[in-house]
């Protein structure tokens, strides 16, 4: 197997996630797209770890998974707060901090 197989798959998934973050208005869907991005990064980490015969790639992928879980928890709490205050999760309407 080639290393580039995994890297190309990761790049495509990353770009799909970036499109989701930019094109979505629903806060929950934006968080899902961020999960796509983080998983693409994890594929890269594990593939390079396997390529170099080094365990560090897997260990850092584990840390990314833990941080992603924390991020989802806090992110969904923020989305819930926005929904409770505005009865909507439309990110276009969250503009009170606009200068």
């Amino acid at each position: 197997m080639y290393l580039s197989q995994f890297l190309v798959l990761s790049a495509v998934l990353f770009s799909i996630g970036v499109y989701g973050v930019l094109a979505r208005r629903n806060g929950v869907l934006v968080l899902m797209s961020i999960e796509l991005i983080l998983n693409a990064v994890n594929i890269n980490l594990v593939a390079f770890g396997a390529f170099h015969g080094n365990i560090a790639g897997e260990v850092f992928a584990l840390f990314v998974i833990a941080v992603a879980a924390a991020e989802v928890g806090v992110g969904l709490a923020i989305v819930l707060l926005i929904y409770r205050n505005r009865r909507s999760v439309d990110l276009d309407q969250v503009d009170t901090m606009r200068g």
Binding site: Y19, N26, M32, A56, A66
Partner: protein, 172 residues
């Protein structure tokens, strides 16, 4: 350049089948108007990522992916959907329209072109070792010796995130 045929064919076929499913499901995640369907397509992508980890011989992180993402994160997402939506089904305010969406599509396509080109430019003929398997014992040895500080910092981070989420989301 030609890889050794025969030995790795099964892994290659598995890789391409799973990768195609992952990309299609990922596209559905960012295009479907139904929020619940997006979460369920995300399950397919995450399971595919776990399968790719197993193909790469990373057994522990593959199992962790299934447990943490498919077991916990998706449930969190479904809770979020249920708590922030009155109706289950299609919704008309999921996407931007017009110029913003076009700009997002342009950005994504440009990003794909640049990253895929640079990856192929650098790593086109680089082959993975035939034996890439790592055991759970190796991972635990590494975490609990070399990366113990980062591991403890992660546990503090998770506790902080837990408390922060409760403080943010509770009713006044």
């Amino acid at each position: 350049m030609t890889p050794v045929l025969g030995l790795m064919v099964a892994q290659n076929i598995a890789f391409y089948v799973i990768a195609a499913i992952m990309v299609l499901a990922g596209l559905r995640v960012v295009t479907t108007n139904n929020v619940v369907h997006a979460a369920l397509y995300l399950v397919v992508v995450l399971a595919g990522v776990a399968a790719q980890f197993l193909i790469l011989g990373a057994e522990f992180i593959g199992v962790t992916q299934v447990l943490v993402y498919i077991g916990a994160v998706i449930v969190l997402f479904l809770f979020g959907i249920m708590l922030t939506r009155a109706k289950i089904g299609r919704e008309d305010v999921t996407d931007h329209t017009g110029a913003v969406r076009g700009a997002a599509l342009f950005t994504a396509l440009l990003l794909t072109a640049v990253t895929v080109y640079s990856v192929l430019d650098w790593f086109r003929d680089v082959e993975l070792p035939t034996e890439t398997r790592t055991t759970t014992a190796q991972v635990s040895d590494s975490i609990f010796s070399q990366y113990i500080v980062a591991f403890e910092a992660t546990s503090v981070l998770l506790l902080a995130a837990l408390i922060g989420a409760i403080v943010i989301a509770r009713k006044e």
